[in-house]
C-alpha cells in the first residue's frame, strides 16, 4: 500500500516537473524542474529494489544538474526568467508527434503479452550486478570504460582554445611546439 502511494507520488511529480522543464521562462527553474523529475526517476528505481543504482542516479543527477545550471547561466540570454521568453519551433507538429509516440507506446505496453516473472530477486542485487559486470558482461564494462575515456579526451580537445596549428605552426613536419611555457598550457 505504501509502495503504491510512493509510486504514484513520484510518478506524477516526475511527469509534472518534466512538463514544466519546457514551460518555465527561467532557465534556472527549468534546470531544477529537470532535477526534480530525474530524482523521482531515481526514487522509482529505488522502489524497484535497485538500491545501488537508485542512489547512483540520485547523486549523479544532483551533480549533473548543478553543472547544467552553470552552463545555463553561461549561455542563455534570460537565465533568471525576468522577461517572457520562447525559444521553440514547430510546437504543434512536435506535440502531435509526441502524442502519437506516447499512444503507440501505451498501446504496445497494454496489449503486449508480457512474460510472467521468472525467479525472484536475490538478497543482494548489487552483488549480482558486480559479478555480472566482472564476469559475463565484462565486455560491456570494458566498452563503457573505453567510451568514458574517449569522452574525456574528446571534451578536452573540443573545449580547449588552442589547436594543433596554434602550437606547431604551419609546418606539418615540426616536432616541437612553439610554446612559451612547456606543456602547451599557456599562451
Amino acid at each position: 500500500m505504501l509502495d503504491d502511494v510512493v509510486f504514484w507520488v513520484l510518478a506524477l511529480l516526475a511527469v509534472a516537473s518534466g512538463l514544466m522543464v519546457f514551460r518555465f521562462d527561467s532557465m534556472a527553474r527549468a534546470t531544477y524542474a529537470l532535477l526534480t523529475s530525474l530524482l523521482c526517476v531515481g526514487g522509482e528505481v529505488l522502489l524497484l529494489g535497485l538500491d545501488y543504482l537508485g542512489v547512483v542516479i540520485v547523486l549523479m543527477m544532483t551533480i549533473e544538474m548543478a553543472i547544467m545550471a552553470v552552463f545555463m547561466v553561461m549561455y542563455m540570454m534570460n537565465p533568471a526568467g525576468l522577461m517572457p521568453m520562447t525559444m521553440v519551433h514547430n510546437t504543434k507538429g512536435a506535440a502531435v508527434i509526441c502524442a502519437v509516440v506516447f499512444a503507440v507506446l501505451a498501446a504496445g505496453i497494454l496489449l503486449a503479452p508480457w512474460p510472467s516473472r521468472r525467479g525472484r530477486p536475490s538478497a543482494d542485487p548489487t552483488m549480482d550486478l558486480g559479478l555480472s559486470l566482472m564476469g559475463p558482461q565484462m565486455l560491456t564494462m570494458m566498452t563503457l570504460g573505453l567510451a568514458l575515456f574517449a569522452t574525456i579526451v574528446a571534451t578536452v580537445v573540443l573545449a580547449t582554445r588552442r589547436g594543433r596549428y596554434d602550437r606547431f605552426g604551419d609546418d606539418l613536419k615540426a616536432r616541437t611546439a612553439d610554446d612559451p611555457v612547456r606543456g602547451g598550457t599557456v599562451r
Binding site: 509510486f7 510518478a11 516526475a14 511527469v15 518534466g18 512538463l19 522543464v21 519546457f22 527549468a30 523529475s37 526517476v41 522509482e44 528505481v45 522502489l47 524497484l48 529494489g49 535497485l50 543504482l53 547512483v56 542516479i57 549523479m60 549533473e64 553543472i67 547544467m68 552552463f71 549561455y75 542563455m76 525559444m87 521553440v88 519551433h89 514547430n90 507538429g93 512536435a94 509526441c98 502524442a99 506516447f102 507506446l105 501505451a106 505496453i109 497494454l110 508480457w114 516473472r117 521468472r118 525467479g119 525472484r120 536475490s122 542485487p125 549480482d128 550486478l129 559479478l131 555480472s132 559486470l133 558482461q137 560491456t140 567510451a147 568514458l148 569522452t151 574525456i152 571534451t155 573545449a159
Partner: protein, 101 residues
C-alpha cells in the same frame, strides 16, 4: 504497482523528452529533453528487470548503460556547445545549421 504502470511512466517521460528535443532551439534545452528521454529508458529497464527477469542481472546492466550514456551525452554536448560558441558565438540549433561548411 505493475509492470504496465512503470512502463507507462517510462513512455510518458520519453514522450515529454522527445517534445523538448524536437521543439527547443537552445542546444542546452535540447539536451535537457534527451536527459528526460534517457530517464524514461532507465525506469523501463529497471521495471523489466524487476517484473520479468529479476534473477538475471542483465536488466541492471542496461540501467548502468543508460546512466553512462547520460553522462557522456552531457559532457560531449557541453563541449560541443563551448566549441561552437567560441567559433561562431552560436548557441541555438537553427543558427548551427551550417556546421558542414
Amino acid at each position: 504497482m505493475s509492470l504496465e504502470l512503470f512502463l507507462l511512466l517510462a513512455a510518458a517521460l520519453f514522450s515529454i523528452g522527445l517534445f523538448g528535443a524536437l521543439t527547443q532551439q537552445s542546444i542546452v534545452m535540447l539536451m535537457m529533453g534527451l536527459e528526460l528521454m534517457l530517464g524514461g529508458i532507465i525506469v523501463g529497464a529497471a521495471a523489466v528487470w524487476h517484473y520479468i527477469a529479476p534473477e538475471a542481472a542483465d536488466g541492471q546492466v542496461l540501467v548502468v548503460l543508460a546512466v553512462t550514456v547520460m553522462a557522456v551525452e552531457m559532457a560531449i554536448g557541453f563541449a560541443v556547445v563551448t566549441a561552437l560558441f567560441r567559433a561562431r558565438e552560436v548557441d541555438m540549433t537553427d543558427m548551427a545549421a551550417e556546421l558542414k561548411e
